[in-house]
């Protein structure tokens, strides 16, 4: 199309309803003639309603077979519908930026590129940024708040495990003595609050705010006070490192950021759950290692061996050498921990933590009436 002289393509006998114009200020249908001059002239009964520069014309979505156009310099909703395909083809060849609004292949590539970049940055924040943030923020959380969170968790636990605490008189005496010794060695000013809970589950944990729970199930499977002391010192390690608070900040942040990816902030859904557990597992593995180290230090301080604690964990969890996906394991591999604890083992240099009699009464702390 070299000759760009003024030409009026459908010079008169334009098919009825061939072109329809909506001016964007009302829904009135204008039956129009089109003239292709310097720009696209839209004419109704001899009066020019609008002139659209070819470079400003864009394609809009429409029914198949009808070319629907808009113009960036006209009212944003003004639309021209060209129903004559020959005229449409001429117009398409004249408008250089017709498809600029469409997303197109390059647009999709841009979206993919930015999405991958965003994903990489989110993963980097989860991997490097969140642990750092949790470390820095956890000391700023007031201990009163931590204690409240702990109280809330205690309420739920009471509901879950029946809430039967064990407190036979002599048993409690022995338990408190043990806790006091460990707390002092661990550098706590006041003994850490601790309770034995009557449930057969072999477990022990620390609540936010620093309350330690020992389950009778674990006590029942322990052979001597050093085993239990190691576990309690491990839990004090969590208290001292404020691992609960750090973990809460970390897993809350992880849920939120992964929700950013998949579009569900509440963190439900199998996909979110799977990717989240991948991240949190490695995080809590580190916390467990640190708590183990803390326990080792405390036991050294007390002049007691560290290996018994490893023996107890091994007895409870069994051989997990190669049948857990190590990247998903919430706790460090028991064999690794066992090895670490026996490597650091030193022969007893201090007095026993509890006398035979005290140990027997501690083991019987959940027997009522004694």
């Amino acid at each position: 199309m070299a000759d760009r002289g003024p030409e009026t393509i459908p010079a008169g006998p334009q098919p009825e309803g061939a072109s329809i114009f909506y001016d964007g200020t009302s829904s009135r249908r204008h039956q129009v003639q089109l003239a292709l001059k310097d720009g696209l002239e839209i004419i109704e009964n001899g009066t020019t309603l609008a002139t659209w520069p070819f470079a400003d014309i864009r394609r809009a979505d429409g029914v198949a077979g009808i070319l629907r156009l808009s113009c960036v310099t006209a009212p944003s909703l003004a639309r021209l519908e060209v129903r004559d395909s020959a005229l449409g083809a001429v117009l398409i060849s004249r408008c250089p930026h017709l498809n600029d609004n469409a997303v197109g292949r390059r647009g999709v590539a841009t979206i993919v590129g930015w999405s991958v970049a965003a994903t990489v940055s989110i993963v980097a924040v989860i991997w490097f940024g969140l642990p750092l943030a949790a470390d820095r923020l956890a000391p700023l959380v007031p201990s009163a708040l931590e204690r409240r969170i702990g109280d809330a968790a205690e309420g739920q636990m009471g509901a879950m495990f029946g809430g039967k605490t064990c407190s036979s008189a002599v048993g409690s005496l022995a338990f408190n003595k043990l806790m006091k010794k460990i707390s002092t060695a661990a550098g706590f000013d006041t003994p850490v609050r601790a309770t034995v809970l009557n449930t057969p589950v072999p477990n022990a944990f620390a609540l936010p705010g620093g309350k330690v729970y020992l389950f009778n199930g674990l006590l029942a499977r322990a052979n001597d006070p050093d085993e239990i002391a190691g576990v309690l010192a491990h839990e004090l390690g969590h208290v001292s490192h404020r691992d609960n608070t750090r973990n809460m900040i970390y897993s809350g942040g992880t849920s939120f950021l992964i929700g950013l990816l998949f579009g569900d902030v509440t963190g439900s859904g199998a996909l979110i759950f799977a990717s989240r557990s991948l991240f949190t597992a490695s995080y809590s593995r580190e916390a467990e290692q640190n708590a183990d180290n803390f326990s080792i230090e405390v036991m050294h301080q007390l002049g007691r061996p560290t290996k018994p604690m490893g023996d107890l964990i091994f007895r409870v969890t069994g051989n997990q050498g190669d049948n857990t996906l190590s990247i998903l394991a919430n706790h460090p591999l028991t064999e690794d921990r066992l090895k670490h604890l026996s490597d650091e083992n030193r022969p007893a240099s201090g007095p026993p933590l509890l006398s035979e009699l005290e140990w027997t009464s501690l083991k019987a702390i959940c027997k009522s009436g004694s």
């Binding site: 809330a152 579009g263 902030v265």
Partner: protein, 409 residues
């Protein structure tokens, strides 16, 4: 005969309606839609989900532009980028709310274990707000004949109404659901405009109840039979025969549920379209009640097929990685095997993506096509010269809906 005839099923019948009726048409090719959704779902996978905003936009553009009224299709002018921004803003607002929710929850739990449960009410309100605002966004991105639709009113006022009605619906075991739908739709439609033409909704709860009460009873049949047996036995344990009867009722109910739901949805769509008004313009639907349940069965069929394929795939993976033979041996070898975990994850992703495509084709496109093609507009000339009006709304509501995982429109 009067135009408020009690059987408005077939718009061809009542002669008093003006002759100017225009039948809506849906012309979208199913293959095109399949390709659109297949490619979009693939891109969703590559972009870790971020493409969902653009896919949603493309789907709407397809649906809008292939539905025509009087030869003109509406145009969807929304863009994926707007949805992304709306989502990011919604997240920024939701973050402190989640934190506050967490702290309030702690206080409530301290008072009594699991007492934080009622706080879900708050998120329900938020979800309803999101539904209202999401409709507002979609409406203001809808242009027909050079004039856009728009919406005012308050998302919170709507959310309060929705919560109140939902409470009532729960207390009455669903009996007031039709009145809930009617009241909420009246609120939404009277805040809808096409240019300067105000919308309204004339569907009545009683009409919907009349057409749907049998389905309601059918949906509640296990509860009814259970109660009846309980009363008959005066609280004693069920005899074997009675338990069998009860089991049979539940089995039949499970099989009947897709039919019940499909019939209900068809009746509801029919009722909804027939209630819509814009100024003088009114709509009618001739959607037959049995038009939709087949689609639900097809989705169930596809789900079973995909599940069977997934199971077969898992077995094949186990066979390839651990070999066949002693079950205990295999279990030991599979546990912790990274290859196996990756294979299961890939299979699960495939299952998820396949079901996404199936759901979008049957429950989005096909339902839309059947519902849209059932509509007829009357006195459309009343909208022939409507002045443009109304501002664009932001996509915050869509963002909340996405962030809170609520569906509705």
């Amino acid at each position: 005969m009067n135009e408020m005839s009690s059987v408005p099923h077939f718009p061809q019948q009542p002669p008093p309606l003006p002759a100017s009726s225009v039948i809506a048409d849906f012309s979208g090719d199913r293959g095109d839609f399949f390709r659109l959704v297949r490619n979009g779902t693939g891109l969703e996978l590559i972009t870790f989900g971020f493409y969902r905003f653009w896919l949603a936009t493309d789907i709407r553009r397809y649906l809008w532009s292939h539905t025509s009224l009087d030869g003109d299709a509406p145009e969807y002018t929304g863009r994926g980028r707007e949805l992304l921004i709306g989502f990011l803003f919604a997240l920024a607002i939701l973050l402190p709310i989640y934190l506050a929710y967490f702290l309030v929850g702690i206080e409530a739990e301290r008072y009594k274990a699991f007492a934080s449960f009622p706080l879900f009410l708050f998120f329900y309100l938020f979800g309803q707000f999101a539904i209202y605002r999401a409709r507002r966004y979609r409406l203001t991105r809808t242009v027909w004949r050079g004039v856009r639709f728009w919406m005012d009113g308050s998302g919170w006022a709507y959310a309060m109404r929705a919560a109140g009605w939902t409470l009532l619906t729960g207390l009455t075991l669903g009996a007031v659901l039709p009145w809930r739908e009617a009241a909420l739709e009246r609120y939404k439609m009277r805040h809808c405009y096409y240019g300067d033409l105000q919308g309204s909704f004339e569907g009545r709860g009683s009409e919907l109840f009349q057409r749907g009460w049998k389905l309601w009873l059918a949906a509640l049949s296990p509860v009814i039979v259970g109660l009846a047996l309980f009363v008959m036995n005066a609280g004693h344990r069920l005899s074997t025969a009675q338990s069998r009867v009860f089991g049979l009722v539940i089995l039949i109910w499970l099989i009947a549920m897709p039919f019940i739901y499909g019939y209900f949805k068809a009746i509801e769509w029919h009722w909804w379209i027939s209630g819509i008004r814009f100024g003088e313009v009114s709509f009618e639907s001739d959607l037959a009640s049995n038009r939709l349940y087949g689609l639900y069965w097809k989705v169930i069929g596809w789900f079973l097929l995909v599940s069977v394929l997934f199971t077969a795939y898992i077995f094949a993976c186990v066979g390839l990685i651990a070999g066949f033979g002693n079950a205990a041996n295999i279990a030991a070898r599979i546990q912790g095997n990274i290859g196996m975990t990756a294979a299961i994850f890939a299979g699960y992703l495939g299952l998820l993506l396949a079901m996404n495509i199936v759901l979008r084709i049957y429950l989005l496109r096909d339902v839309w096509a059947r519902v849209a093609a059932s509509a007829t507009a009357f006195r459309l000339e009343a909208a022939a010269n409507v002045a443009a009006k109304g501002e664009l709304a932001d996509a915050l509501g869509e963002g909340f809906a996405n962030g809170l995982d609520v569906v509705g429109f």
